[in-house]
Symmetry: C2
Subunit: 397 residues, 2 copies
């Protein structure tokens, strides 16, 4: 038997893969995945855009590109991000192979084995897996309906062994669906200033808001540009074009960028030129804006269908909030409930979701579950939610 | 200033980026890059293949795929690899984001900081950068015209602190152009058996042979399937379709595969579905075989043009061998020569290449240089080689 490295020896297969296998069974209604609906992808539009490209650009799509990204995409993406108020000129942009790679690169840049990093609890599993792969000590800070708990955050900041960074997903949080309030963001900024703890701000879902009046809550902390905090802002084409293109990005201060580019070079040399060419054409045609408008309406419709079904079928003791955007709805069950028992029953009934402990940095807390509405028609939702509700009633009474 | 992790702190910007900037200047003839010629890509063929695909497949191209790769590509690629005699059924195949990612994943799987790994000297820079990023101690084993030095290899194997793996590129070595002899492969196998040191066998160029009679030398060690060695075989679509697709693979024993899949998941979740769909269609149409046949002939023509020019212009004291395939030609200059002085002169004259020390694991030995002929017409070669030869004469006399 070969001897693996220490960080890797402790990596264990997650339950996610088995769940995803279940989630792809046609006889089961899946609220498990975080994938956009296949029917929503701009397949035709992108094919037409590609067809019209110059042969030189098509050839370049087959060729290696510079490690930071194709210059044309870096330029068009800067324009896209500038519209969100992001300080694109005072920072450096790096195209990554999905935003998963951005998180992995930042993990590698900062984490030495057994060093602490601060994450939300619950937390995006992709981030947990990236940071775990560098043997980080994950310290979860609870999230409530307004954002991360500032009290607990301050306690964690004051601990003797200083955290290497704080990772948050403030805009339609995965899995909790939370949109941070403006006030909570301000408190977070105040708590971080002067600590020299970098902030990783993951904004994979911010474009998928349902209400225009949330503009202020949606403004990235990176765009607020507070003094004295190194903010590494990450984003993705996965939710606004297609995850199969594997394109994300990070916008980071120059002093952090250099190391990230070297790590990226050693990771996969460059992101796929082929899909970078497609993404660039999609932005430059302006179609990205109308496309996002369209999917926003569609996800809002799906969220409403789920909200209606939950109102009708869920028992009162289940706590949840109406989503204001994104893909997810988070149910909190009575203290002590084991969501694994519920999902087992639900699968028998024909529906599946992800249990809460999957998103707990310590893999324990399990009186919660995540429902995705992004990949279901209102009809599937109306059929599947009663199955989930029945399973909850059977276990919790 | 944020504090970086230890492994990353020591990463330094390589000179490669500056060279590549030079290499892309239209007024300079570049023998520096390892890129296929843009004019050789099967742009039209792939576009037609894509157009004919079913809408369901096109949608899946925009979607996340399973971490190991799209099932259809895994199947077609298995067929492609089986024709090389590779034991695809007794091993597991993992699609990676370029073979650079395969090397990075294997580095992460095996290397703890400051542990020794064995590499060839000279060695592929992508491998050096992947292994350095995990803070490996790189131990170079010299390569001669028949392959790696078995004497030095045995000495290294016998050292007290055991190496974590041996990494080799036996088929049209990058940068040295070497094709291992059958005998040297047998000696290598004998040296490794019983040591429990895994072998990483990188076969990115094997398809680009110029002579059918080299079949035996080209047979992968993985296909010989010797007992008692864990062989991690890596390959790439970069040279047989296009590097801009960022698709490579590893074929590894089951007991190594599990960790690699977990590392891959944390690295970028999955490789691009979009380009996997293209590669799959390219294999299934059979066009990959005729395409490889065509580029083989083209690279052979380019190599011949370079050989002819080197014969005409190079001074006798420069040592080199005629390539039997691949992209590269390696010049060895008199002991003590500094190739950096030569490249400086050559750039002034209008030609560029990569100096030897770039490929030295210790970054020192510099009386050598790499010439690529893959991305030049015979005319460019005829114009550029005299510039290189002049620079050599000026420095070496």
């Amino acid at each position: 038997m070969p001897r693996f490295s220490k960080a890797v020896s402790s990596l264990r297969s997650s339950e996610i893969r088995d769940l995803m296998t279940l989630a792809s069974r046609p006889d089961i209604i899946s609220f498990a995945g975080g994938m956009p609906g296949n029917d929503l992808f701009p397949v035709k539009e992108v094919e037409e855009l590609y067809r019209e490209l110059d042969i030189k650009i098509k050839q370049a799509a087959f060729q290696y590109g510079p490690t930071p990204g194709l210059p044309s995409l870096l330029e068009s993406l800067q324009g896209f991000l500038e519209k969100k108020g992001l300080p694109v000129h005072e920072n450096r942009l790096l195209i990554t192979t999905g935003s998963q790679q951005a998180l992995n690169i930042l993990g590698k840049a900062f984490i030495d084995p057994r060093e602490p990093v601060l994450v939300e609890n619950p937390c995006f599993i992709g981030a947990l897996s990236a940071f775990r792969s560098y043997d980080a000590e994950l310290r979860g800070v609870p999230v409530d309906v307004e954002g991360i708990s500032i009290d607990v955050l301050r306690q964690e900041i004051d601990r003797k062994e200083k955290a290497k960074f704080l990772y948050i997903t403030p805009y339609f949080h995965n899995p909790a669906g939370v949109l941070y309030t403006t006030e909570r963001k301000q408190q977070l900024i105040a708590a971080l200033q002067g600590t020299n703890i970098p902030l990783i701000e993951d904004d994979a879902y911010g474009d998928l808001y349902f209400y225009k009046e949330d503009a202020d809550r949606l403004k990235p902390i990176k765009a607020i540009n507070p003094e004295g905090i190194n903010i590494c802002y990450t984003g993705s084409f996965s939710k606004i074009l297609g995850p199969g293109l594997r394109l994300g990005w990070m916008l980071v201060p120059e002093k952090i960028y250099g190391k990230c580019e070297l790590i990226k070079q050693s990771a996969d040399a460059c992101s796929p030129s082929f899909t970078q060419v497609l993404a660039d054409a999609f932005i430059r045609s302006g179609q990205i804006y109308s496309y996002i408008d369209g999917v926003r309406q569609e996800y809002k419709k799906r969220a409403s269908a789920m909200v209606a079904a939950l109102r009708e079928y869920l028992p009162d003791y289940v706590q949840w909030s109406e989503p204001r955007g994104g893909f997810y709805l988070w149910l909190t069950l009575p203290e002590g409930t084991d969501a694994t028992r519920i999902v087992t029953l639900a699968i028998e009934g024909g529906a599946v979701f992800v249990v809460g402990k999957t998103f707990d940095p310590e893999g324990r807390q399990n009186n919660s579950l995540r429902l995705s509405y992004c990949n279901n028609t209102p009809e599937q939702i109306a059929e599947g939610i009663p199955i989930v509700a029945n399973a909850i009633r059977t276990i919790c009474g």
